[in-house]
């Protein structure tokens, strides 16, 4: 593709994770049309995630949730100048090929959509577009990195407006990282076996004390305080799905969640951002979800 100088390299791991680095400290918002995308951009979103239905509606409507209509994605790309992400089903590499040919900036291989392959995730090294994947613990995060993901997010429990699962997953991942740091090099192969994760990545995390890619939170953020909580727990940025456009006043809530993500360590700012908001999305208690309704259990 490069015709100048002959030295430029595209789609290197550094170029892929580089975009994830630039999203840090920001909020990526789920949007279903160009109008919502504009609202998100004007509220300070650092990227938007284009999808057909927000997770709360996918839960309500049931049926098979698939990649969005390309025309809708193009409409969103035309409407905003910030990066546009889109979701492919777990294992559905042909959907990912379509998204790449649409020139989306990031592909989310997402458990929010109905999985296409119950055994295998997409071989993400095959693609030039960077991928973000969900994880519930460190082993899962490292397996996704072993397949070529350039960014990890907690799975949480999308579409519930309940932060409890995101907290669980973020703590699982960060405490897993801390634990690796306490092991000797002799103990790391066994740790890799127990995590079912590539040894090379386990060694890397044990040495650096962090994932080799940015770690974001997703799945359940509904309020500014939720956003601040996840940042204090170690998230480097937040995805917000149903929490914004399923609330009373999406514009104001979007801005407030952006502010709380930036000033996560400043309770006065988070307080100010939390005032004068309408009602948050209603939310679902986990025990009210049947086991087969838990999206986080999709993928391995």
């Amino acid at each position: 593709m490069t015709i100048f100088m002959g030295m430029a390299e595209e789609a290197t791991f550094r170029v892929k994770t580089g975009l994830a680095e630039m999203l840090k400290g920001g909020v990526i918002m789920d949007v279903v049309d160009a109008e919502q995308a504009k609202v998100a951009e004007e509220a300070g979103a650092c990227a938007v995630m284009a999808l057909e239905r927000v997770p709360a509606d996918i839960r309500r409507d049931g049926g098979v949730a698939r990649m969005s209509n390309p025309r809708m994605i193009k409409g969103i790309q035309d409407a905003v100048s910030i990066p546009v992400m889109a979701k492919a089903r777990i294992g559905h590499f042909a959907e990912a090929q379509v998204l790449q040919s649409l020139d989306v900036d990031f592909i989310d291989e997402s458990e929010v959509l109905t999985p296409a392959d119950e055994a295998n995730h997409i071989d993400k090294f095959e693609f030039d577009a960077p991928f973000v994947c969900g994880a519930t613990n460190l082993g899962e995060a490292l397996r996704r990195l072993g397949e070529g993901a350039a960014m990890i997010r907690s799975k949480g429990e999308a579409g519930t407006g309940n932060i409890v699962e995101a907290v669980r997953h973020m703590r699982e991942i960060t405490s897993g990282i801390r634990h690796l740091g306490t092991l000797t090099s002799t103990e790391l192969p066994t740790a890799a076996k127990n995590l079912a994760a590539p040894l090379e990545l386990v060694r890397d995390v044990a040495t650096t004390g962090w994932l080799p890619v940015p770690l974001f939170c997703a799945g359940g953020i509904a309020t500014p305080a939720d956003a601040a909580l996840m940042m204090q727990l170690g998230a480097e940025g937040n995805f917000v799905g149903s929490g914004i456009f399923k609330s009373d006043d999406p514009e104001r809530r979007a801005k407030a969640i952006v502010e709380a993500t930036t000033h996560f360590n400043d309770p006065e700012r988070v307080t100010a951002a939390s005032e004068r908001l309408g009602d948050a999305m209603p939310g679902i208690e986990m025990s009210a979800l049947g086991e087969d309704a838990k999206l986080a259990e999709r993928g391995w």
Binding site: E9, G18, E21, M22, E41, I82, Q100, H263
Partner: protein, 198 residues
């Protein structure tokens, strides 16, 4: 939090320089790491009080709309202009280059084009020739990068890629459309810290 209580002016000889990195959104963490590697003290800037006692400021990459809105909302625009009036050097990278242009903070007499090379699939890394970097090539990582569209007479071009300026300097202000913080090479940070030492 490192704010308000900082020293009132530039650091004394021997003390590490305090260099602020605007930390509203984007790639600020990697800049802080590089500053540490060249012996400077990096300070996260989120509020006007954080700007007190700085020897220089970095405007990092990220989303320029998000960063620009945050600067206005949190009252950072005027204090940053004051920093310039006080003669402190400022360096912008990627979105920070856009923030520094004539349509935004007006730190450098130039206009920029956002996402000039294209979307993420067109992002790339390349060895470039960068003035002031002792002749060895500089690995430049371009992520949805801008370039300089038009520039004023007083603006010096430090590097070009595909015929467009991607590194410029005017007085104590400099801007780069690539990400020196994403490689292990800290020559550019070292160059900037030298300028801050005055």
């Amino acid at each position: 939090m490192p704010n308000g209580a900082g020293s009132p002016g530039p650091a004394q000889a021997g003390a590490p320089l305090r260099i602020g990195v605007l930390a509203l959104q984007g790639g600020f963490a990697a800049h802080l790491k590089h500053l540490g590697s060249v012996g400077a003290l990096g300070v996260e800037i989120r509020r006007p009080g954080d700007l007190v006692g700085l020897d220089g400021l970095i405007l990092p990459g990220g989303e320029s709309t998000t960063i620009t809105m945050g600067m206005e909302q949190y009252g950072l625009v005027e204090p940053i202009r004051d920093l310039i009036s006080a003669g402190r050097p400022i360096l912008g990278t990627c979105a920070g280059m856009i923030v520094a242009d004539s349509d935004h903070l007006g730190l450098i007499d130039m206009t920029t084009r956002r996402n000039a090379f294209g979307r993420q699939l067109a992002s790339f890394e390349e060895d470039i020739e960068l003035t002031g970097m002792d002749g060895r090539p500089f690995r430049a990582v371009f992520i949805r990068a801008p370039w300089v569209e038009e520039l004023g007479e007083g603006v010096e071009v430090l590097a070009e890629v595909r015929g467009h300026p991607v590194a410029v300097r005017e007085g104590k202000m400099s801007a780069f459309s690539f990400h020196p913080e994403l490689t292990d090479d800290n020559r550019l940070h070292s160059w900037f810290v030298d300028q801050c030492r005055g």
